[in-house]
């Protein structure tokens, strides 16, 4: 029994996932991958996208075995009531962490780059209120707003890239594989953590109305995100060269560097807009998942009453998770990535394995009986 009656199309789901994955990655991934992968950082998203592919496979697989159930609901059937509830509890604990971290990341970014004297609470609070409004209106509205914003984000990013063309130096691409393949593989860990966020489809698949096409749409979405990451990394590399990893947000520096005819300059606001719109969708998606998961876990009929309290909880978490901006960076770069991969990749993978084993077992039993 689902806690929201709304349904979205498979294309809407695919579009919904774009900012969910890209919003935060556009800004911080270039620097992080560069840190490990050096000049080959533009290759890293390709390796990372395999994680995305596997995660999509897992979600679709579980959903195929247990149709019209979210991962939380199907876990009860796969591994039994008590372990299933524990599994759900893990997500109940993890999701506010993740959402809080995203909110905090947004707050830190805005406070350092746009509104240095505004209290963090106001910046994060306003965003959380807006997201709460969005989530309360249901998955359909979340899907539609994401469609609008993805269009705007794509246009703005394209604009930024186009305006930068003059300043790009493609020769920075060389040398390729300066230290072999390994660095680019290592560098794929941060993008992989982002790609593992594709697991949200395991929570959202029951709300999709044309299930046949979902696979195709997801692959399209994955291709798009990978492409965007590669292009972003390339633009940063071509513009900033080896300095890319010395900046916190290389893409922001890139946008600031634009100067066209002494008139169009310093358009980092465009990137800030991309960030705000993207993060809005991202927070909404995670808040939505958090709310529905909570509602499902407690067996509520409707998720809407829990949205506002949970949003406030996430806001509180955003203070508890980390204490300062360098902390955010630290958490995002090493431990955070492993933590994320653990819950967004390993747990669902284990669940899928259990589901497959169970299915085989059932078939064997049936075969034995007859």
């Amino acid at each position: 029994m689902l806690t929201d009656k709304g349904r979205i199309s498979e294309v809407q789901l695919a579009i919904l996932l774009l900012p969910t994955v890209l919003a935060t990655s556009i800004l911080s991934v270039p620097s992080m991958t560069m840190h490990y992968a050096g000049h080959d950082m533009w290759l890293s998203p390709i390796w990372g996208s395999f994680i995305g592919l596997i995660v999509i496979g897992i979600s679709l697989g579980i959903h195929r075995l247990y149709p019209n159930k979210t991962i939380i609901q199907s876990s009860l059937q796969i591994i039994g009531w008590f372990p299933g509830k524990l599994f759900g509890l893990a997500y109940l604990i993890y999701l506010p962490h993740l959402t809080g971290l995203i909110i905090r990341e947004y707050g830190e970014f805005i406070v350092t780059n746009a509104l240095p004297r505004t209290p963090l609470f106001v910046v994060m609070g306003t965003m959380v209120i807006v997201c709460t409004l969005n989530v309360r209106l249901g998955i359909e509205v979340v899907g539609r707003t994401s469609q609008i914003f993805v269009t705007i984000i794509t246009a703005l990013l394209l604009l930024t890239f186009l305006l930068l063309i003059k300043e790009l130096r493609p020769q920075e691409l060389l040398p390729v594989f300066e230290d072999g393949m390994l660095p680019s593989m290592l560098g794929s860990i941060p993008p992989a953590a982002w790609f593992s966020e594709y697991i949200v489809i395991a929570f959202l698949l029951p709300y999709v109305n044309h299930k046949r096409q979902v696979g195709k749409a997801m692959i399209g979405s994955l291709l798009f995100t990978t492409m965007t990451m590669i292009v972003t990394n390339l633009v940063c590399l071509f513009l900033l060269g080896d300095l890319t990893d010395s900046f916190t947000f290389p893409m922001l520096i890139a946008a600031r560097y634009i100067t066209i005819a002494d008139f169009l300059q310093h358009i980092e606001a465009v990137i800030v807009a991309v960030w705000i719109f993207g993060i809005f969708v991202k927070i909404s998606v995670f808040l939505y998942i958090f709310s529905t998961t909570t509602a499902e876990w407690f067996g509520l009929n409707d998720y809407k009453p829990v949205v506002a309290p949970l949003a406030f909880l996430c806001l509180a978490y955003s203070y508890w998770v980390v204490s300062s901006h360098p902390d955010v960076a630290k958490l995002l770069s090493v431990s955070g990535n492993l933590y994320t991969l653990m819950l967004l990749f390993c747990f669902p993978a284990l669940l899928y394995v259990c589901a497959l084993v169970r299915k085989l077992w059932n078939e064997r039993m049936k075969g034995g009986a007859t």
């Binding site: 306003t126 539609r144 707003t145 609008i148 300059q265 800030v272």
Partner: protein, 477 residues
């Protein structure tokens, strides 16, 4: 045509006693001096009563076409007494009336009611006094190219304008009456075969549920039928152009024509219909394409420009090109107000000026605009109360809001400007973006008769978007 009223107390039938009927009617109308009870004997010696409203009926025609043939000798020669004899009256619009209620409505509609002794029914003859304005060019929606006819306050003229454009039996016109006291006729128009039958059912059920005391303008209906009560966005399209109504009927929408107002309502609509002008379909494709895109652009401008100016000049000065910033800083040097207050002053006074210009008689209106232009444009800047860039911004937003072809949608942009301006003035561009996000959330949850307000942009439909981006010929498909 079946008439209904809100009141149900006069349900009883007309009796065969003429005196009885007369007493009931006289009791209903009481001391009204314009209701005339005319008793006479017809040519074949039947006792008859003619009741009519002298302010609505054309008395000259009544005498000539109804009373004189009845009193006439030729009529007298006819032996067959009874209600059938009335068919010899040389008039086409005749209605049989059976209940008191129908009788009252017929009289109030300007019909002359004829009752006979021993007949439990009456006849209503339509003899309207045509006190209506001629068909003129619609003043609120003028076009350069395209039909010049606009609806008038008279429903039957409006219906004829519509029928004239759509000569098909599929065009259905269904009349209902709304308003406990006004008893206003409302005609639901749609094209059978094009429109979704479920939509018609929905509209009819909503109309049935609607309880109103009076309907003086189309907005009374619009307000009652809207999906979302608290949205500033118009959820039905008000137009006074029959060609717009016809085009929309052909696209599967329905229209409500309301007696007493030249504005008819069209639904379901999306936000894009608010930004379309009928002329888009009458002009060269490329021309209207560019004009339409310009309109979209200026619609955004009219909501965002003042707030963007405030946000950028008070929060993100690095975004302004250096030379421009220097001239803005020069212009603002003597200004005592913060940019937000300055913008508020200017926007509010612009709105005041516009409102004054609309309400005043035409001759005075020109004077107001001259004074306003002088005060706002010239004197205020040279006195150092507002800066010149702000005047430009306000003027540009003003022009932009006038570019929106639908008046109701233009009002919304003017209304939304203020909250977004406050957001932009307190949180800079971040605040503005938040405002935009809230706006988008609202728009994506809004529906007009079940159709999403943002369609076909979200949820995306390629075919629908083609019409938004380009201009699909309104009638060519």
């Amino acid at each position: 045509m079946a008439l209904q009223t809100e009141k149900t107390q006069y349900k009883e039938k007309l009796t065969s006693s003429l005196d009885n009927n007369r007493e009931v009617l006289q009791e209903v109308f009481g001391e009204n001096t314009d209701i005339i009870f005319h008793r006479f004997l017809t040519g074949n010696h039947l006792s008859a009563l003619c009741v009519y409203c002298s302010s609505l009926c054309d008395t000259e025609r009544l005498e000539k076409q109804l009373l004189s043939p009845m009193l006439d000798g030729s009529f007298a020669a006819r032996s067959d007494a009874g209600i059938e004899s009335f068919t010899f009256v040389p008039m086409s619009s005749i209605q049989t009336v059976c209940t008191i209620n129908e009788a009252i409505l017929a009289i109030l509609n300007g019909q002359a009611l004829l009752l006979l002794e021993d007949q439990p029914m009456g006849r209503a003859y339509s003899l309207p006094k045509t006190a209506s304005r001629a068909v003129e060019e619609p003043s609120a929606e003028s076009t350069v190219r395209g039909p010049r006819e606009g609806f008038t306050e008279n429903l039957s003229i409006n219906l004829s304008l519509l029928r004239k454009r759509m000569k098909t039996p599929s065009l259905k016109l269904i009349t209902t009456t709304k308003g406990q006291y006004t008893n206003t006729e409302i005609v639901l128009a749609y094209v059978e075969g094009i429109i979704d039958p479920a939509l018609i059912k929905e509209v009819q059920s909503r109309l049935r549920k609607l309880k109103l005391e009076g309907v003086l303008e189309s907005h009374y209906i619009e307000k009652g039928l809207a999906d979302e009560q608290f949205s500033p966005f118009p959820q039905m399209l008000a137009t006074e152009r029959p060609d717009v109504v016809a085009a929309n009927l052909l696209e599967g929408r329905f229209a409500l024509l309301i007696d007493g107002t030249p504005f008819s309502l069209i639904a379901p609509v999306s936000i894009f219909s608010m930004l379309q002008s009928p002329e888009d379909y009458y002009e060269n494709k490329y021309m209207s394409l560019s004009v339409r895109w310009m309109r979209y652009f200026f619609a955004v401008i009219s909501i965002m420009l003042p707030s963007a100016y405030v946000a950028i000049t008070t929060f993100h000065q690095e975004m302004i090109p250096t030379v421009l910033l220097l001239s803005i800083s020069r212009a603002r040097e003597e200004i005592p107000f913060p940019a937000l207050v300055e913008a508020m002053i200017m926007e509010v006074s612009f709105e005041a000026l516009r409102e004054a210009g609309v309400r005043l008689p035409k001759q005075v209106g020109a004077a107001v605009s001259i004074v306003g232009a002088l005060i706002i444009g010239q004197a205020a800047t040279s006195a150092g109360i507002v800066s010149a860039p702000m005047v430009i911004i306000v003027a540009l937003t003003g022009i932009a809001s006038f570019m929106i072809p639908r008046y109701a949608a233009g009002i919304v942009t003017r209304l939304l400007r203020f909250p977004i301006m406050i957001l932009g003035g307190t949180l800079g561009l971040v605040g503005m973006m938040l405002g935009v996000i809230v706006l988008v959330i609202h728009l994506s949850s809004l529906r007009s008769f079940g159709t999403l307000y943002l369609s076909p942009a979200a949820p995306t439909s390629a075919k629908g978007l083609k019409d938004v981006r380009w201009c699909r010929g309104g009638t060519s498909e």
